[in-house]
């Protein structure tokens, strides 16, 4: 059996106390929400914080509210609750769908929205035991050696593997971050993620994701999330595609956003979709958007599945997402 290392656990009773506990030097503390990502990482020796700051007692992070037409979802809302919440379903159904596609029922009961937003990137050369990584010779994430995915690469390209961010990104959501030192700040989710697989968010080490704001205009969008996986449960995505389309009364595109994940560390927004503005979402336009996505997205060997197949599937998933909302 794999056992957890020695560590300490802080069990703050308030947000303020939690932020206080996190105000320690980088690497010392880790945030424990649902634990579905963190505890396996600790057992595998991927992370070695001295202290876990448990958010279990923070009921204040579990609220879902509508404020001025925008949807505020607390970071502590579980993925199961997110998937079932009527307000989320009404405001951003693809977000609820995506939450319902995460892992297994157990994982969705434990995992939280905040945890999913901050889910560590994943790579077949990294998400293994300490013994396995030693046998491999490790990777650039832990030691100064070459990347196994991109020969000669100096940048970690582990795959962005969370399901709820793609539709939230497509809808223009913001993430609320709080820290003892800096108070609260609101960051566009699009600016939250970086291309560095080791630390792929702008969250500072002493900050906590406290919630997400989905703008009022999201209500008007039609959204879809498509997840590629080999099993219909448990698996992380081999590709994630979110589509959001704002259509006018005649069904013509006002705005179209496509987000593709599980490529590198950062979600990819498909470019050159402006050409579809003012056009109907018919089969021909959908095919063009699908081809744009396929051409722009380059799956990597960070996930042990054929990259050519995944690349082709990008087009297929985009087409299916757009067909679902057209």
């Amino acid at each position: 059996m794999l056992v957890l290392p020695e560590l300490e656990v802080a069990r703050p009773r308030s947000l303020e106390a939690a932020l206080g506990a996190l105000a320690v030097p980088p690497g010392e503390a880790a945030v424990l929400a649902g634990g579905t990502d963190l505890l396996p990482a600790l057992k595998l020796g991927l992370r070695a914080p001295r202290l876990l700051v448990s958010l279990r007692a923070l009921g204040e992070l579990r609220a879902v509210r509508e404020v001025d037409g925008a949807l505020h979802v607390g970071a502590g809302v579980t993925l199961a609750d997110l998937a079932a919440d009527a307000r989320v379903r009404a405001h951003a159904p693809a977000v609820a769908d995506a939450a319902g596609l995460v892992g297994s029922p157990q994982v969705r009961n434990m995992g939280t929205l905040g945890g999913n937003l901050c889910l560590d990137t994943r790579c077949g050369y990294y998400d293994q035991t300490e013994f396995w990584r030693d046998a491999l010779g490790n990777c650039l994430r832990t030691t100064p050696v070459e990347c196994h995915v991109v020969p000669g690469g100096k940048n970690c390209v582990a795959a962005f593997s969370a399901d709820t961010p793609p539709p939230l990104l497509a809808l223009g959501a913001h993430v609320r971050l709080a820290s003892e030192a800096g108070g609260e700040r609101l960051v566009p989710l699009r600016a939250f993620y970086t291309a560095d697989g080791i630390e792929n968010t702008e969250r500072r080490h002493d900050e906590l994701v406290v919630g997400v704001v989905v703008p009022a205009e999201a209500r008007r969008a039609r959204t879809s999330y498509q997840k590629l996986r080999l099993r219909q449960a448990i698996d992380f995505p081999l590709l994630g595609v979110a589509a959001a389309a704002w259509l006018d009364g005649a069904g013509r595109v006002e705005r179209l956003v496509l987000v593709v994940t599980a490529l590198g560390a950062k979600p990819r927004f498909v470019g050159k979709l402006e050409e579809l503005v003012g056009e109907p979402l018919d089969a021909r336009r959908i095919a063009r958007a699908a081809e744009r996505a396929r051409a722009q997205c380059h799956p990597l060997t960070n996930l042990a599945t054929d990259t050519a197949w995944r690349r082709d599937m990008t087009g297929v998933l985009v087409r299916r997402a757009l067909e679902a909302i057209a």
Partner: protein, 999 residues
Amino acid sequence: MGKLETLSLRVNGDAVTVAVRAGRTLLELLRYDLGLTGSKQGCDKGDCGACTVLVDGRPVASCITLALDCDGASVETVEGLARGSELHPLQAAYVAHGASQCGFCSPGVLMSAKALLDRNPRPTRDAIKHALSGNLCRCTGYTKILDAVEAAAAALSEPRAPAAPAPAGDDADPVAEPAVRPGNTSAAPPSAGLDPGAVGRARALAASDRELLVLGQRRGGVSAASHATGRTRYTDDYTFPGMLHAKIVRSPHAHARILGIDATAALALPGVHAVITGRDMPVRYGVIPWTPDEYPLALHEALYVGDAVAAVAAVDELTATRAARLVKVDYEILPAVLDPASALLPDAPKVNPAAKKGNVTKHVHLEFGDVEAALAASDVVVEGDYVFHGSTHVPIEPHCAIGMVEPNGVVTVISATQVPHYLHRELARVLGVRYDRVRVIQPPVGGAFGGKSEPFDLEFCVAKLAQRTGRPVKILYTREEVFYAHRGRHPMQMHYRLGAKKDGTLTGCDARTLLDGGAYASFGLVTAYYSGQLVAAPVRLAAYRFDSTRVYTNKPANGPKRGHGSVQPRFAFEVSLDKVACELGLDPIELRRRNLLRAGERTVNELRLPSTGFAECLDRVEAASGWRDKWRKLPYGRGVGVAGSFYISGTNYPIYPNDMPMSAVELRLDRSGRATVYAGVSEIGQGTDSMLALIVCEELGLEPESVRVVTGDTDLTPVDLGAYSSRVTLMAGNACLMACRKLGAAVRWAVAKRWECSPREIVLAGGFAMLRRDTRQLVEVAEAYRWAETDGGTLTAVGHYHAPKEGVHGSYRGGTIGASPTYSFTAHVVELAVDPETGVVSVGKIWVAHDCGRALNPVIVEGQMEGGAYMGFAEALFEEQAYRDDGLHLGPNLLDYRIPTTLDTPELHSLIVESIDPEGPYGAKEAGEGPLHPSIPAIANAIHDAVGVRLDALPFTPERVRAALRAHPAAWKGVEPRAAAGVERREGGTQEVSHARPA
């Protein structure tokens, strides 16, 4: 050990306050601190669901839940499900429907199901699948689990309806007051006050015209209630005072010489008790006595990534883990051989120093008839190369062993093994102690499938460490270590030529096979033979030749996985048959019918077939699947495929040469009206304990709850060779029957004497001895046993089994390998859909018809059929034991090695065929392994029916299917399939003019 923190929670309603270290998981708290061992450890990290418990009503994975995070929470485990001694309706339905086999995943499944029914009392089957999709089961194929949850939901909605089927005989006519004649024993309590219901049921049984009264009835297994309540104790559920925990140090290199091992730092760590290395056990062992080629811990060379080189015992698992990392091993890296073809090159590095000839474990070449002449005289010959990838067993229970030295010096090893007897022998040899000084105890095993059928490093290590430290020592593998222990399905590269006449008569078959053996021989000598010997039925071959070579490579050893040695060639052969059918324009079922071997015939390689129900198997799957309306008639993207197979019911010869019984049973009847069966068989979820108990009930008139079954303990039970080669029902069943008949005769004689009638007139059934011609004359069996004990003394008997040796196989060299007392037969029809855009194959239904001789318990037989079909389906589409080109496993965990969930698994329809075999007990043959075989070729053949392409390399992953479709441009464009595949449809058959091959 760090400081302890206190938490308070409710566990199954009880308030608990306990101090734990901060890094304690909820699962560890429950299992090891509170003794609630129902929740299981399966995968280490939340990927399998065996640890599922409810926290505040919601299912969570307790192995990745921090105990401290449950402060103030309410936790429910399987132990809290029953109300007192009354089973929860879910548990009752689980028992009645045979939803558990090994029982290891049951507690987790039940907790997920409980949470579902609490929220949604009448879920659809689809909703149940979703709710259970995070709980992996490796035995059942999920069918009976889903049935049970549906039944429980119905029972809960109508509280008065029983969840379990009513026992047989409930509707018997009311009977008159029994005419009980007193016997001549004064010790007997008065027989007055007999339960009229029990009397009625027994009399109805005696009056029934059924050939068998107990056997053949649908009922749950004898261990099912223990499984469903979490009471079954598996190896890791045992702890002992002062027990140490050990970890094995493993080689990170595929091939390396061990120059030195420095354990100083490890031994200096507080809490560490001992470190052992290869030098402590420098004795080679191997399950096959002719190929002892491994050391418990590598002595000179480590032969694969993960090979064991040292072991550390410490006060707890964390300390042992840390200490293992401190053991410094100085390696000289040696060149490694990683694919079987290069193992055969003249200058290939030597993989295993014990190999006698280069890197070859075994080469077999056998020819029966003149194959070249037969093929030359054929109207059609199909030729193809087939690739079978490797796959592994994935029992949900990781291997676990506990060693201890008893005060009298006996070394006891408790282990999750399928072969206590072979383990016993090898432990004695390696430890250098006399056989009588070793005891192996095998608790119920949480799934095995061949993966626990030889001795492993951990069993030797716990024994040696126990000797060294004087304390009990436990090793529980991590899931990663299970993948390194492996002994799974051999990868095989197969070249097949199969010929036929225009009328479909098969002429000859030529097979050439290269087996990738991995670093050790394991059962490889046998595997090499099986890869050729076991395709010679169920269709007749006039001439047959095979040439099989098993080679060593620097990877975890391959061995026996369910359907040992014959699943791979079965794939090549059945796909070849399908191609022949296409070439000839014949329905592939009809092609098989035209070449049937009959009962009493011998195969081309001289295996005697005492019975065969294969023709009926074909009829049943053809009818049930609607084959005639579907084959070649479904729209593009959908298809059906058929395949058949046969398999051994045990081997005629033991692994080490001897003429002693291969199985034996001791039976004791007792004046309390109880039978105890002592047998060396190993319950691994396949239902052998139930099989023994039911035979006793049939013969001695008992109800199952009056039979105790004691198995898997080399001190208490007579030798049985183990749970492998599908031998137990036939061999132990016959042994048990022999013992039962001896005691049954004694009991009947004692009753007949008192009733002044012939012993033949006495019926023992339903808890009573009755006079056949007037069942009002009856007495409780306990009383009958007392009479017999009075007359003849203590009631014990021994039964044993020897396999027939004469006239059942050829006299050529190797003719004994593959020979069995009898054989089972199976046919599958698979219906599936192929998404041509993604390449995803979705199997909708599998119809499995299996000739098991006689179904002693149809529920258990169906469970084996469904589980086998599931496991074959899984390795056809999802699973691969794959390595990097440096020999490192690609993903030794249950996220990367994907075993199918409830949502991925097809509907499985089991159709039992009974040929009533002359060799088996009551005519029974095996059901555990045969039903797996046709899954894989039937899927391949159905893919061809669906989209017109042949996939001759496994597994059929979406990328591979899609690549095959792209290589077949017409099919790729999605045009009408038959035209695309170059097939003309016409009355009475089709003609194929091209075979697409995967790119």
